[in-house]
């Protein structure tokens, strides 16, 4: 009898341990946890919090993909990424407000500028070091982050600046669904994210430089032996990741406002998203991004009503992000859809 039970439970338990199984289980837990909240606060409020989270989800996804691209190529976490993105957002704002560049032109120029800076950083500060010796390179990325933050503060001041919205952002620019507001900004951010993912897919799967990038990510030594110039390929990865980071920063800056540390605060959530989805999985990190955003929105929305936890308020989300990173690293280090062992970080 016992043996039969074990047998019939086998496939289900095996599935439950796969990425999709864990994902389904997580969704189930979240949904069940939310039922009392929905009953108490009403469907409208719940829907509003879901809509609010979509914007963050898209921004986390874009930022997480920038992290994933560097990690895939080098198995390194690029701690400079957030501030490269921050600096790019300042460049965008500066071109727009001081020189009258249309916002989207300013975004693209800023992306290009930071792509060039990213590739220069790779060439001058990263490439001289042995890729297998992670500590010096990680320290260098920390250093670059600090330098960029100091320069941004020096050039543009430490105060908050209002960032122009890249989308129609009048209070009336919104759809109303079951009483909840879905803003055009949110839809625009989602569309940009979708286009970006499609663009990355084409770039990595349909171009020669994409093939080289995937080859280097898969097996550096063999990539060299088929004639791929690995240094230039990593440089391409840095340029791409820097540009994407800037795009993410420009999408979120309207809500957070500009200040030198605004992306450093946000990148924790992107890091949690990428860790959850799998640090070498672009698709996984997008899924992770939306889970983190939904849970964050629900916890900050409903969390204050949980007895004894009200004092955490908005810091709740930050704590949650760290707890999530810790739990994933402890129990499923490769993340939901990742393949690479995390020890190599």
């Amino acid at each position: 009898m016992t043996a039969v039970t074990t047998k019939s439970r086998g496939p289900f338990l095996t599935w439950l341990k796969t990425g999709s199984g864990i994902l389904t289980a997580m969704m189930a837990v979240i949904v069940i946890a939310l039922i009392p909240a929905i009953i108490q606060g009403g469907l409208k409020l719940f829907l509003q919090r879901v809509f609010d989270s979509l914007n963050n989800g898209a921004v986390y996804a874009v930022t997480a993909i920038a992290l994933v691209i560097i990690f895939k190529a080098t198995t390194l976490i690029n701690f400079a990424g957030a501030n490269i993105a921050m600096f790019g957002a300042y460049v965008c704002w500066w071109l727009n407000t001081s020189y009258g560049f249309p916002i989207w032109i300013a975004v693209f120029v800023a992306m290009g500028t930071m792509a060039v800076l990213g590739s220069l950083i790779e060439r001058t500060l990263i490439r001289p070091f042995d890729v297998n010796d992670h500590l010096p390179v990680v320290l260098i990325t920390f250093g670059i982050a600090a330098i960029l933050e100091a320069f941004a503060g020096g050039f543009w001041g430490l105060e908050f600046h209002k960032f122009p919205s890249p989308f129609p952002s009048d209070p009336k620019d919104r759809f109303t669904i079951a009483g909840a507001f879905l803003r055009y900004e949110t839809i625009g951010t989602l569309i940009v994210m979708g286009l970006m993912i499609f663009g990355i897919y084409l770039l990595l799967n349909k171009t020669k430089v994409g093939l080289a990038f995937r080859a280097v990510s898969s097996n550096v030594e063999s990539a060299r032996l088929v004639g791929v110039r690995t240094g230039r390929t990593l440089q391409f990865g840095w340029a791409l990741a820097s540009a994407l980071g800037v795009l993410g920063a420009c999408l979120v800056a309207k809500q957070t406002n500009l200040e030198p540390a605004f992306m450093a605060k946000l990148v924790i959530f992107a890091f949690a998203a990428a860790t959850l989805g799998g640090l070498d999985s672009i698709g996984g990190s997008v899924i992770g991004a939306f889970i983190v955003a939904v849970v964050q929105s629900m916890l900050t929305g409903y969390g204050q009503e949980i007895p004894g936890l009200g004092w955490l308020k908005s810091n709740f989300a930050l704590v949650l992000a760290f707890v999530l990173i810790l739990v994933v690293l402890l129990f499923k280090p490769a993340g939901l859809y990742g393949t690479r062992r995390i020890e190599r970080v």
């Binding site: 093939l211 080289a212 030594e221 063999s222 032996l225 004639g227 110039r229 393949t339």
Partner: protein, 237 residues
């Protein structure tokens, strides 16, 4: 001897403080199959890595008359040198087709697709599994993929590092028969590092024996097969 494809003269190679090759002199004529024999740690793999500039090297290495010591690996590959490293060196996350595409990375002509078809004809198992990730193939299939990928760059010089490692005897025999065919049909020059001396000497014209990083013996395949020391050390007779 006819025109030389590879000429190594006074080659030393080291990994940090450890010197692995000492004054190695080795020649491979165009169209020849040459085997390098030796025990573990004798420097066989390092010999191949030195040719591709994957290890710190001094001395002279000429490929088809061009000096390559100090050149970048990517530039040496562009001289149509293909290297199948030990343990196959496939790209595990990439599909079989993408592995072959990467093999043709340095080519700019329009015949890459027809070459993919050609090597899938030669190794039908690769066609069956063309959309699968290379990491999901069996050891024998991965070795076929590694060889097909190497041939995708239309090499004039093919370096094979212990192709028999970890494979079943029947598969190894088939593989070496293929090497012989490839050499006859395409005229590709081959330098093969191999522990399985019997099979290697069957398809080889000549051979070298390395010991502790030095060439201690060289000769025709027939001479090596009958050499008392070689028979004792590598042929199990």
């Amino acid at each position: 001897m006819s025109e030389l494809m590879l000429k190594m003269a006074g080659v030393n190679a080291r990994y940090g403080a450890i010197q692995v090759l000492r004054d190695v002199n080795l020649e491979v004529a165009k169209g020849e199959v040459v085997v390098v024999l030796g025990a573990n740690g004798a420097g066989k793999t390092t010999t191949l890595r030195a040719i591709c500039s994957m290890v710190a090297t001094t001395g002279s290495i000429q490929i088809a008359g061009t000096e390559v010591v100090g050149k970048d690996t990517a530039d040496i590959v562009r001289m149509q040198v293909a290297h199948v490293p030990q343990g196959r060196g496939t790209f595990p996350e990439l599909s079989v087709t993408d592995n072959l595409m990467v093999g043709a990375y340095t080519r700019k002509d329009k015949e890459v697709q027809s070459d993919i078809d050609r090597w899938m004809d030669a190794f039908p198992r690769l066609r069956e599994r063309r959309t699968q990730a290379a990491g999901s193939l069996s050891g024998g299939e991965q070795q076929m993929l590694a060889v097909a990928r190497a041939m995708m760059c239309r090499p004039q010089l093919l370096l094979l590092d212990e192709p028999s490692l970890g494979l079943a005897p029947l598969i190894i025999e088939d593989l070496f028969r293929r090497f012989g065919e490839i050499n006859r049909e395409t005229g590709t020059t081959m330098l093969v590092v191999e522990q399985n001396a019997n099979l290697a000497l069957e398809i080889a014209n000549r051979g070298y024996v390395l010991e502790a990083g030095e060439v201690v013996l060289q000769g025709s395949a027939d001479d090596l097969r009958t050499n008392e020391a070689v028979r004792e050390a590598y042929l199990g007779a």
